[in-house]
Point group: D2
Chain length 257, copies 4
């Protein structure tokens, strides 16, 4: 999906000034990341999307990042847009006590989803609805609860739709407060039409250099930005404190400049 259009084969690349990468520029063991796989299939069924997510997870694991991996379909999450649907008629709801605290504790959220008819899975939509429903929560700075966290998307299908689905996920995350680093998406699809999926032997998905590069870049960009936020204590609240705005603070905004 991250096609790198090379104009007329004319390379404008300059050499990197860094000649070796013996070790990463920082320690990441204090960071927490949660990977939520919105495959329609519960465990133990094979999820091709999980297959690609595992490549990203492996990079973080080797850096000692505290990892939490969730198969959304394994949890009895209720449908709706309230923090706790049990207060709105649902018999059970795994979101408020099981999943939400884990999302809230994580510095990094990676949403994985398969592609169906070119779009995000229904479970992916449901996850976004539940994340959105927490949107009135704020942190100690009066910022929306997701400020200072970073988000990414991993998408697989047997044909067509990675960009459209990643767009859906990444837009939603930045909208509610996540920061989106460069190329925060990785995906794999086969040629047009039905065909093998990522983990199917004949697909040789894991040998796709293009996908491998992008899942690697995505993973590191999530780590770099999460590192920056952790060290900086997130984003300053000047100009984005909802409470202050409600109290009349305008941070320099003028309706009629």
């Amino acid at each position: 999906m991250h096609s790198r259009f090379t104009p007329g084969g004319r390379s404008i690349r300059r050499m990197s000034d860094q000649t070796n990468y013996e070790k990463p520029p920082a320690d990441y063991t204090d960071l927490r990341a949660i990977y939520i796989n919105c495959s329609l299939k519960p465990t133990p069924q094979q999820s091709h999307t999980q297959g690609l997510m595992d490549r990203s997870i492996n990079i973080m694991r080797k850096q000692g990042v505290q990892l939490d991996v969730v198969r959304f379909a394994d949890h009895d999450v209720a449908t709706g847009v309230y923090p706790d649907m049990r207060e709105h008629g649902a018999a059970t709801d795994a979101w408020p006590e099981d999943l939400w605290p884990r999302v809230q504790a994580a510095d990094i959220l990676v949403v994985g989803t398969p592609i169906w008819l070119g779009e995000i899975s229904s479970l992916g939509r449901q996850l976004i609805e539940r994340l959105y429903a927490m949107g009135s929560m704020t942190n100690d700075k009066g910022q929306y609860i997701y400020y200072g966290k970073v988000g990414g998307a991993i998408v697989t299908g047997n044909e067509d739709g990675v960009k459209n689905v990643a767009r859906h996920v990444l837009y939603s995350l930045q909208h509610i407060g996540y920061t989106i680093p460069p190329g925060a998406e990785a995906g794999w699809i086969g040629p047009v039409g039905p065909g093998p999926s990522y983990l199917d032997p004949e697909a040789e998905g894991p040998k796709t250099d293009f996908t491998n590069q992008h899942v690697t870049f995505m993973t590191w960009n999530l780590l770099h930005l999460a590192r920056m936020f952790k060290d900086a204590g997130g984003l300053p609240s000047y100009g984005n404190d909802g409470n202050a705005w409600q109290k009349g603070e305008r941070f320099g905004f003028e309706a009629y400049p």
Copy 2:
């Protein structure tokens, strides 16, 4: 567009720990921002999108940010996906020498576009095509040229489409290397159906508290993140250096972990 769904009116907000905002947390006079308005109308025709963009620009101006404001329709930009279309048959092309150096010099890019039939304007698409065409350029670290820059979107229409258009813009920007801060979108639309536009007196667009809050938050989040990148020298190139990847460096990635 950034609707803040308040679950059952139940407020989970905690008070901000900061009780006053006498002044911003940093100096922004060394930052450069470019605002590109993709209205279909050239100057001196009134652009409602420019009207909303001006609210954001005014906040930056008061902080001493170095500003560059472009009406895309005023420039004779050629159609195509090469850095310089004059090398591919175009008689003229304002992109390579007029606009591109200004985009490259800016730490912050804000793309403004009207909504037509629920989508981005054709000039907005053309801008994205030209930005995309520079995608093979890298910076001194071997990263894509847009790394370390931040992007946002401002959208207006007389009805429906802010989110869809912002999604289009923000996704494209992160895809080529921009970082997208939280709520990096602001927009204004009227009720469903034809009606007045943002600057029409009867619309009272600039009195829309919702839009005002979001254009303010967007503007400050762009400033905060650009400040962080400027101070940090951008993002580390570990894990995202395309040249190194081509040379075989894998940054911990394993195809079969």
Copy 3:
């Protein structure tokens, strides 16, 4: 959503040659229509989307169309992309025996959905996944099972997203075999930002002439096209018979003309 842009106020309309519409051009009592509301709320909770759907339903009822109205959230539909998820581990699945036969029996399908964060509801996505899963079925002519049926979309929210959500629904329906008549979408949203919903008294949704016109046009266009298909026995199978294609029939197609 169906904004009618009037170029420069310059009216190019000609008078209709029909001066009165005493009665419809046909009888519609042999047609069946199913309206599926993908609100996240089960009955008896109020659904604003149902409110708008009811305006369309009322028009069809007065024509004697055989109506079936479904609140998707009331049915225990399993998640997945197989015709019967009970064969794939689901304890229960209301789709194959409860809902599918009703969809299959209908000449007209109208999908209703609310807007959440600018997108279709998760239940809307789930419905499309289940419709898609029947895509390998064919009718007596060897055409995909949805050929000869017509589809439309009804969307409501408190702000922004009608076009994007209608696009999602209508595209999916035509993709699997439905025919989409002109303006097969109707919707209602309020001004930008949180606000009242369609049926809230202060919103006065049902007084929105724009929405009323479009829900009326949509309803009649669905009826007209369904009437044409019913009378013609659907679409000819020449050029779209999947079985014949598999047997080698090419209907005039040449790979290298």
Copy 4:
């Protein structure tokens, strides 16, 4: 793009009742079709999208359909949303006298576009803006000018985006009055990542059975529906006559049923 998901390999297909297809069910020589290619490249540059469009055109040619094939980039079309941009400051505008009469004369419109960064080309957007700008015109029945016409989309790229782009085109067409037959889209893309395009020898695009089937089905479905409309004199104006609605006719609609 029209992936036919076969549930568990379990075939529910019944044999077609038609055992041979010696000849089409009708004569199509009185139909007019216009194919507009929104490639960013003017002639004589090779357009891969044209390559796929030619497969559809060839089928219609063999049926004696009156064909008009346009490379949009070859025409000096002005930017804007008025019927004639020369009345709004444009020095020239090929739309009103050159292209529009040809669109208006055609029963069938097929929009072809390449994929750039997962989206429609800027010229594709411009075409839609110009089509949209004629939206206030009505036919002799008081219907929007595009009523009774049918539309389709043909999309190519080297990777990912056919569905998203087709969705954009088909939604826009139905919105302004076109009818969309089943599977009114055909496309070709290669595997994920940069690679050869449709007509590149190594791509063997024209040998893609999946794409071939769908371009064939699309072409015939456009012909079948155009034939039905031609024979029926388009759609009845009962329930969709904008002039009558303005005069107070409600066609059975009740705001408060």
